[in-house]
Amino acid sequence: MVTFDIKDLSVQFGHIRALKKVSLAIHANEILSIIGPSNSGKTTFLRMLNRLNELHVKYRMEGAIRIGEDGLFRVDVELLRKRVGMVFALPLPLPFSVFDNVAYGVRMHGEKKKKSLDERVQKALQEAYLWEEVKDRLGESAFKLSGGQQQRLCIARTLAVEPEVILFDEPCSGLDPISTAKVEDAMLKLKSRYTIVLVTNNVKQAARVGDRTAFFLGGELIELDATEKMFTAPGDQRTDDYIRGKFG
């Protein structure tokens, strides 16, 4: 199971400095929650781990990231993204049926046999706790599902390509409390087999699901500690203020 080791990571978009000398390690099979106000660099950090920032034209970075034993930029980018999956802030189904959404990545990676596709799709939907709700609707457009179902569909789509790490970028920001609870359930159960990095605007969500929690502010890592300690005895005044809702 992979781990990330990040040293002195700085990222710039044009003149805007999104991350400033961030160093931290991500352990195997943990849920690392990242909290912080808007524009604190959380999402930029997350998108560094699967190199999605590179789609931005004016992106520049400094520092070193290792995935397992390898430098992040030594790994083939498509292979890296297969190993490091991502679930986005809004549910983003592709314009296909429910089945084809989950099967898409698997197909693109060369699986053609109907039987093993069926199996992989069912397994992924079960892992995302969506199978029971959609098993009779696999041929329908993914856009006909509810928001919470769509987001779990996106999780299933990510799981189907069998990643080792899953990056969640505020996955519940558009969901109601019940859908949020279902997505959180799915995350907790995925922990045994995946390493999870969860960026969230919801401090309580970090407290509920995170093993460790990192607090970002203005592109800097302020504090990183076990979730319990962060929420009971934070080491930095700014962390304390943010958790208590005094700013942000």
Partner: protein
């Protein structure tokens, strides 16, 4: 005192007036051409060669000629234009050179068609020694509609949400697979709109084919792409201005057939487009 409801009524009136000013002339053109042209159209008119110095008989060679020329132009311009559009939207870096190229392409769409005619004469007819032929004419028309196809294809490709691309890439799917399986299928309706526009333009223009392919009078059908053909727009020009005493019915009949041919070819593209639009799920 100002009355917002009256202001709205006045604005509404002018908006309606502007729309009518567009619709009425277009409608009149169609009505007049149908009214005056339809009586001339019968099986002989469609299937016979022109006779008695083009004052009788049919226009079959011109119909076939225009069909070949338009098909050739699309066959040449659609693949090249589409590939260029994919390169410009998906691969080219956003720098000064790319921006100049994009601007040049947009401006090329505004170049008068007679300039393309001269260009085709110099390049295809003379330099490549294709002579006045279907090949030269098709390529000239193809180059004329390339900017239309590239510009509309680019817009279609750019209108595919960036999030689809991000999702696809985030699954470890390669860029080319993303373009092939996500971007292109969702851009097809827009690309076909560009094709329809290009097709209409290629069928209707006289100047580009004047020096490169069109024959004044050539009753036999072409045997190869290196033969000359008659074409509807040029034939219409000839019987309207160059040949005296042509019955008005025949002239309007030719115009009617040209309109109908363009409409028919557009219809094919529209049917394909609506099939793809039905599949669109966002």
């Amino acid at each position: 005192m100002r009355n917002p409801y009256r202001t709205q009524a006045v604005a509404f009136f002018f908006l309606l007036l502007a729309t009518l000013l567009i619709v009425v002339p277009v409608g009149l053109v169609v009505v007049i051409i149908v009214q005056k042209g339809l009586p001339a159209v019968n099986w002989t008119f469609l299937s016979d060669i022109p006779r008695q110095g083009m004052r009788a008989g049919g226009i079959f060679p011109a119909i076939i000629g225009t069909f070949y020329l338009v098909s050739g132009a699309i066959l040449f311009a659609l693949p090249i234009g589409l590939l260029a559009a994919v390169y410009l939207t998906e691969y080219a870096k956003d720098n000064l050179l790319t921006r100049i190229i994009k601007l040049a392409i947009v401006n090329l769409a505004g170049v008068p068609s007679v300039v393309y005619g001269l260009f085709g004469l110099a390049l295809f007819v003379v330099f490549f020694k294709f002579g006045a032929s279907i090949l030269s004419g098709s390529l000239t028309l193809g180059i004329m509609i390339l900017p239309i196809i590239i510009t509309t294809s680019r817009e279609a490709l750019e209108s595919v949400p960036a999030s689809f691309r991000e999702v696809s890439l985030s699954l470890g799917v390669s860029k080319w697979q993303t373009i092939r399986h996500i971007v292109l299928p969702n851009a097809i309706p827009g690309i076909l709109t560009g094709t329809i526009l290009g097709l209409g333009r290629a069928a209707g223009e006289t100047a580009p084919i004047l020096f490169t392919v069109a024959a004044f009078y050539l009753p036999q059908l072409p045997g190869s792409v290196f033969d000359q053909v008659m074409a509807l727009p040029y034939h219409l020009y000839v019987i309207s201005t160059q040949v005296p005493n042509v019955d008005e019915k025949i002239r309007y009949g030719t115009a009617f057939v040209l309109l109908a041919l363009v409409l028919f070819m557009n219809l094919i593209a529209i049917v394909i487009r609506s099939k793809f639009r039905k599949k669109k799920k966002w």
